[in-house]
Subunit: 259 residues, 2 copies
């Protein structure tokens, strides 16, 4: 199994605090030592830092913890390999371009008997993980359903993707993060939770390492920041736990669509 | 104008020496202060570090200079903006997946009257540079010509891409780096040169900053490493300068096809 982390915010926000907690699970407080990755969106652009080394022992992860990159959407993943060997092409998040937007995806879980389902045309996996194949299958089905020009209304697209995720969930555990750089979709198979922080901001304390942050000093009163994680990252705040089959869409930190 | 840097090698090789010279041109010895990026291939996987800050003053560039990432193919670019504003989505290199491979591209030059030519279907630009539009047009034409399944022989694909580059060159200056993770293609419009280093290795001295390297200490006798740059990076070695319209394909450091 792996650990997921994501953020949707209405102002460019750094995720150093949450990533510091997550990175500990990559070799210190957790067994997820088979690489990690994090994607930051800045406007329509995105950049992904990844490493096939454990996040607790990675030069690049050290950079992310020490150099605050301000972003409106973040998708991150630390890996404990089950399908596919430990190498860069099997390291999440995965990105593809569709409709002039970068789509970024990460998956926690394990699937069985997926080879026949995930036969794709427009998007093909580079590595050999079930995760990347599921992503390419989702993107392929979206192109088949909606064509190569972006529809005006994106809500039917995400509702359709949720119906695809329902099918994938029948093959195993499928907790998913997916964004097109505007909306952040989360889909729960068994482990996913979120918290939305807004004024009045308080202090938060990480579970995995001895770090406390006072968000009031880091924010303005209008900031809305939603953080998603496999398990709660702090132990003095109320995290909302999703039920199996639940999915939600966040835009600029606010929930805009859900089941 | 911008500066390009690329490498093709038969063993995983770090590019710290050459990148150190290039990065100086991003704000110290050169005027290319509008961001930079570098893509490393490790097996079939790739990772791109980019920043819209000048390379001479970037935390991420400092990481690249201090942390040797060993790679068989590298594509790098530092930018002096002419078309498109300074932001992450306009920062090279650009990557798209086709045929289960990551294709990475960087361009030096400036094009005119390109809007009608670069009308694309399968691949769409995320940013608004002439460079990314040209890349998406090339990839789109490759799909139209060869379909969605990879051909056995890639030489006709690169020869076809060279014919597309000839057309783009009619719109302005078009020096290009392009790789599918196996082959590295370089196309010269006006400024591009390369050097192939192999045993017996010697010392090299950077032009842009006071650094000398003794490659004999860094290599084994079987290593073959080709470096491509807009202008020579060292002043005590013989660089080969390409003529306008010249293109070359390198695989594992060796020249395998050229015009």
């Amino acid at each position: 199994m792996c650990e997921l982390l994501a953020m949707s915010a209405n102002v460019p926000t750094d995720i150093v605090f949450s990533f510091t907690g997550l990175a500990e699970r990559g070799g210190v407080t957790g067994p997820h030592v088979d690489g990690w990755g994090i994607t930051f969106y800045e406007g329509k652009g995105s950049r992904t830092f990844k490493d096939s080394k454990p996040s607790s022992d990675s030069h690049v992860a050290h950079l992310i913890k020490s150099y605050p990159i301000k972003s409106e959407i973040v998708v991150s993943h630390i890996r404990q390999a089950n399908r596919g060997e430990v190498c860069l092409e099997n390291t999440h998040p995965f990105t593809r371009e569709l409709w002039g937007r970068y789509w970024t995806y990460a998956h926690n879980g394990q699937l069985s008997d997926y080879e026949t389902l995930f036969n794709t045309k427009h998007f093909q996996a580079v590595g050999d993980t079930d995760s990347e194949m599921a992503f390419c299958w989702i993107m392929d089905r979206v192109v088949e359903q909606f064509g190569l020009q972006q529809p005006q209304d994106m809500k039917p697209v995400f509702t359709f993707i949720a119906s695809l995720a329902d099918k994938i969930k029948q093959l195993g555990v499928f907790n998913m993060l997916l964004t097109d750089g505007v909306d952040l979709m989360i889909y729960c198979s068994n482990n996913l939770c979120h918290i939305t922080r807004r004024a009045p901001f308080g202090k938060a304390k990480l579970i995995d390492t001895d770090v406390v942050i006072d968000f009031q000093k880091e924010t303005t009163p209008d900031d809305v920041v939603t953080v998603i994680a496999t398990r709660p990252l702090t132990n003095n705040e109320q995290w909302h736990v999703l039920a199996p089959g639940d999915w939600k869409i966040f835009r600029k930190g606010e929930l805009i669509l859900s089941r």
